[in-house]
Symmetry: C3
Subunit: 271 residues, 3 copies
């Protein structure tokens, strides 16, 4: 069957863009499985795409070909790249940082090429839809067993665009972080992890204060959503080892009135 | 290829949760087909999930493994279960009633186990994402041909959590039901079925009155959406044999201003 | 594996309708690949469905079976049809024009049948969900290698319902078109193509004026989204060879306050 393709984008599902890419893949690699990770990354939000991709790779088949397209610079000067990694996975997408967090999780880039070969690109390459014309064909080529070198000339792995999740400020009894993600349930995921909680000495706190620009909420420390009463907030370490503010039976994000990137402080209730 | 997996959840499609579960399945059972029934169940709405699942099972392959996750109690005391049914299907999910309506349609539970075996669970089980760590691995194990007993210790099938669709009140010329579902087209599905319509003597009525807290609408009885003029309402028996209020070319739900669970009366226009 | 099925509808993804059709297909043709093109066509918008389907067929496997359901007349007098085309593709759906634009792209209809055979339809055919009961079984039958004639009696290909994209009015320095599509990024696609731009003598214009009922916008001509400054508008020829008004880093549709079908004039900035 070839290698599986894991596909992430900000295309949405209404306009048929992911489906067209599936068609391109099926023509080149008919028996290959495609796993749609998500096409609901907020439009052009490269960091959010990079985080969702990086959180998923640990659960995917080891030889997966990742096809990731969040690409505000399509048609401009950014390169289209394919990366071979230390763990045997491959990553295909724009060189804008989107692939960088996942790449680190799967062993780092061992070889990189620019996707430029006429043998791989579709016959007519548009200026606005490289998912269809450049990235999907390249991923299908690799999934079908093709060589990385077939895609185009080698690039220097050390020169790839890099993203980083902003590091929270951690002091005794206090973490100043930012909103990294808000999921469908309204759980507010922060840029801080379980380690930061320990570093701040808040790991064993029964209660903390969660402070936004709007308000200061006293919040229970918990380990699952239902550990607090219905309607109550909790701070827990989520399934990606990040701090999250949750609300049992409701949306913490709506109640807190926070959006992606906004600052949130978690601090000692004693303070 | 193994048995197909039919996957339903309230995860939504934006955050990558269903895609991660697909990855977990692909690692354990690479050739297995996964049918995404829906991931758009309203968050934590167990009854809605149970109904959508039960309405689908009659159209799925007989040996399907159903993977269903609407799980507000994740990380708490509810058991993770796998059910073998009389028809050869299997059901995997939380023991909160979500599986109960579908289970009855596919022959009832013949054997049940708690999913607890370290040989099946992912190495590290989170407190917040059992879809990934518990349910997807268990479904993949069964789809790949594994035994139910491998998953964990037997449970008593008669002790499983049960849900029921609330029974409408039916009298001569009158049905008092509730809103069971509202689909994308705005069709308002009621808890009443074609049988209730016959019991109320309204089966041959040319017109009925649909009464909500807001208004009393005179509505044509019809058998398809387009049988009434554009903009007109109709009451029909839908493709799941339930009563539905529809509007040709528009949303009946918006016009009626009703939501899930709200009461709706269908009664004789003569009254 | 049989022929791939490419599936488009206005069912949405929340209610489980596409998933149920996948189940029906899997029972009849277990090994067949199904590519979900989109299920997000605006409810009952036949023209939008026809355009998205026609724009995709050139990128799909040549022997694909297209299963398309946007069907406001379900249960009424419109026929359910299956078309064999000049290029080896097949199209299955309602005879309401939905298939007509794609059919022309894949070589036109060589043979057409009405889907009426009891050997193909599900045992009980509802009046409201022919996707499940009529169209999915017919597509699965063809994908599994079945004959077109098995589906039902022949129809006259010249009598099929036809749609057309409204032709824009083109004069020197002026194109009067309509909004054909608005994608997730807010790009406003017009009924005019690159050819119309050349016919109007605007192909080499550095700037044009885009006029709606609300306003007249001076807009740069460009060939990719990022060629203008952030927040700036551009007119470009998109990946389907149609004129589109875009906005770098934002939604042109929101800013222009236009919806599907509304008129837009593109004219010379020289006035």
């Amino acid at each position: 069957m070839g290698r599986p393709i894991v596909f992430l984008s900000d295309f949405g599902l209404d306009d048929g863009f992911p489906g067209i890419c599936h068609g391109v893949i099926a023509r080149i690699a008919p028996g290959v499985r495609v796993i749609d990770l998500t096409h609901g990354i907020p439009p052009q939000n490269i960091l959010r795409g990079a985080v969702v991709l990086a959180d998923a790779v640990g659960f995917m088949p080891e030889d997966s070909v990742y096809l990731a397209v969040v690409d505000p610079g399509v048609g401009g000067s950014r390169k289209a790249i394919a990366i071979e990694t230390g763990s045997g996975a491959a990553l295909v997408g724009p060189d804008n940082g989107l692939l960088s967090l996942a790449c680190a999780v799967v062993g780092g880039a061992t070889r990189v090429v620019a996707i430029e070969s006429d043998r791989v690109l579709l016959p007519s390459v548009s200026r606005t839809f490289h998912g269809r014309d450049v990235f999907a064909p390249a991923a299908a080529h690799l999934a079908a067993g093709g060589e990385l070198d077939d895609l185009g000339p080698a690039l220097d792995p050390s020169k790839l665009a890099q993203l980083a999740i902003p590091e929270p400020e951690v002091g005794p009894g206090r973490i100043r972080a930012n909103v990294l993600g808000i999921d469908r349930f309204g759980n507010v995921q922060l840029t801080a992890s379980g380690r930061h909680l320990r570093d701040a000495g808040l790991d064993d706190a029964g209660e903390v204060v969660v402070r936004t620009v709007w308000q200061a909420l006293p919040v229970r420390r918990a380990s699952s959503f239902g550990e607090v009463a219905s309607g109550e907030f909790a701070v827990l370490v989520d399934s990606t080892d990040r701090l999250a503010v949750t609300r049992n039976g409701g949306s913490a994000a709506n109640a807190m009135r926070v959006g992606l990137g906004e600052p949130v402080v978690v601090e000692s209730a004693a303070g």
